[in-house]
Symmetry: C2
Subunit: 351 residues, 2 copies
């Protein structure tokens, strides 16, 4: 019998946002990998690609021409997962097992800039601020539509994340219902707030800043950290220091500080394996249902799949799908590794 | 305004096992795919591969020699996610946010047969029955260990599912706690049973058999169907007709019928895209905590990633990670497509 050592012994950690457990196997990081390797494109992209349907001036799938945009550019997704049509629906209470209801929504694509080759870490702070302003505008505009109660801003980056076009872009899916993960998060935030009159993330952030172990970057207004309960090897969260509700609450200073931390975090990510680091990222913030949401605290998740190198990812399969999420390195070790990465992008160093 | 048409309009469906919603976008199946294509190995595998650490007689990572096994063969995973060591642990109640506790467990690998080249759909019924008997023995043996309260039997098939060795094999992770997904399922099953005195899946199965829409295969003892709330394009579930608790409750007839339906379902899967169909599959059944579990009803999940062809998979990324699971074809259409597949394996037809 030995005493529990969180850095060595298999254990479970609790995620208070989703209200669920995660399996951590620190000792397993040494396991050899004989499985699939991801392919990475190392070709240098042109500034403008005439065959890209996202570049300025080019033709899209629906036949429309993109304008010659100069900053970020937003358009409706040509193959949206939801439609704006209003649907007549009478709930069929007889169906215990076949419960379904129509969902109204709007999907938009946000091209980060005219440049086909410029990802977030390579952009100027000003350009990133411009993306943040675009997100603010979309959150407001979409949120103002009567039937839209939630606006999900996200980015899929890299072909390994199902991204089908390398032109840096994100998406926005706005809809009537709260999506499953957001609803779970809201329930946790609300029950914490009701009990403590402070947001869960406010107190969590204090606790994290006190130990510092999992903090990757801190500036005046935001902190990027590897959450204690992270499931992806290099998962991070950016949390605002102020308990602000939503992206439209940012002061000008906060907009700048958010742009800076976004750039710094994604530079560290790229430097980790000297590759354009793939991930899905997305913002969780107050719904646009017209109600007060003092429990909500702005944060952004980064879920990157890579585990050991530019080509070896963590597979969330089998046990993870049927049982629970499992990770091989501890959050503390990942945070340390990320912290150690240079703040200068590897491509600039090579020059 | 139009009336809701579940075959055409975007909607959400409710999963009563996990108690969560899923987004369905029937109209989106026509979306063109310009993203990543998976690589598939079409090379014919040898019956015995001298470099395979799972083949009979060969040496494993830990230096041990596999016996010259003739049916299925079980060994402890050389890189287990959990360890058997007993750990001393005092719960630290001060930690609101840093909740962790040690987890004890055992991981085993189950080689399906000595044959390096024979996947489930290509095996004889007798060989599959032998695997089922191995699962029964493992469920019993592991379940009898004092600190083991849950035995997760699963298979990762195909390199796209993170499977690092093509020799057909599954895994078993047995542990002290109920994994997250199983705990959620158990909560749903229990509250249904407490209310109705019948298992949730008993009544669900009746409802499915009445409509028939989502049924893929039915025999005397088991039904394979695409659940109403499926998230993966060709996700299925095998449910026992009898409300049996666990795999060790099978009669000899049921063991045979389960082998038959496993073979038939995986043949249909392989025939769908004329490829060795990748998936993660796993059995959900009563925990081994020594308590009575009348709410539990044996079932097996199949989570296959392919969407349109042997090389185009569904990416559960971005919106799915941050918001909720989303699918492009309806469960009804997938079930129909699977039903239409031949019962003879495509490799046999070619000969
Ligand atoms: O144990 P394996 O086959 O090496 O590993 C595979 O299955 C495990 C259990 O589903 C996962 O945790 C790993 O990410 C996956 O690569
Ligand atoms: O909309 P895209 O980029 O074509 O598609 C990608 O992102 C979507 C939203 O996360 C996912 O539903 C798709 O599976 C993925 O391939």
């Amino acid at each position: 019998m030995k005493n529990f050592d969180i850095n060595e012994d298999p254990h479970r950690r609790f995620n208070p946002l989703l209200n669920e457990w995660v399996l951590v196997s620190p000792h397993r990081a040494k396991r050899p990998w004989q499985g699939q390797n991801e392919t990475i494109t190392t070709e240098t992209l042109p500034k403008h690609d005439p065959t890209c349907y996202l570049c300025p001036g080019n033709v899209r799938a629906n036949g429309e021409n993109n304008p010659n945009y100069e900053e970020s550019f937003v358009f409706e997704n040509d193959f949206a997962a939801m439609k704006q049509d209003e649907i007549i629906f009478e709930e069929d209470i007889k169906h215990t097992f076949f419960k379904a209801k129509p969902e109204q929504g709007i999907s938009r694509v946000v091209c980060f800039s005219p440049r086909h080759d410029l990802t977030l870490p390579e952009m100027e702070i000003e350009g990133i601020e411009n993306i943040i302003k675009t997100w603010q505008k979309e959150y407001t505009d979409l949120g103002n539509i009567k039937y839209i109660n939630h606006v999900q801003i996200f980015e899929n980056k890299g072909s390994v994340m199902g991204c089908s076009n390398p032109h840096p872009h994100g998406q926005i899916w706005a809809q009537s219902s709260l999506p499953t993960q957001v609803e779970k998060t809201q329930n946790s935030l609300k029950s914490y707030f009701d009990k403590n009159q402070r947001t869960l993330l406010q107190d969590y952030l204090q606790a994290e800043l006190r130990t510092g172990e999992r903090v990757v970057i801190e500036n005046d207004h935001f902190v990027a950290l590897v959450p204690f309960w992270a499931i992806w090897p290099y998962e991070t969260m950016i949390i605002s220091k102020r308990a602000l509700n939503k992206i439209t609450d940012f002061t000008a200073e906060e907009t700048n500080a958010f742009a800076v931390i976004l750039k710094q975090l994604t530079i560290k990510y790229d430097n980790l394996f000297s590759t354009s680091f793939p991930y899905s990222s997305g913002i969780h913030q107050a719904p646009t249902d017209g109600l007060e949401h003092p429990e909500w605290h702005f944060h952004m998740h980064f879920y990157p799949p890579l585990l050991r190198s530019a080509t070896v990812k963590k597979f969330m399969v089998g046990y993870e799908m049927l049982g629970e999420s499992q990770r091989d390195i501890t959050a503390e070790r990942s945070a340390e590794t990320l912290r150690q990465q240079s703040d200068i992008h590897y491509k600039l160093k090579k020059k």
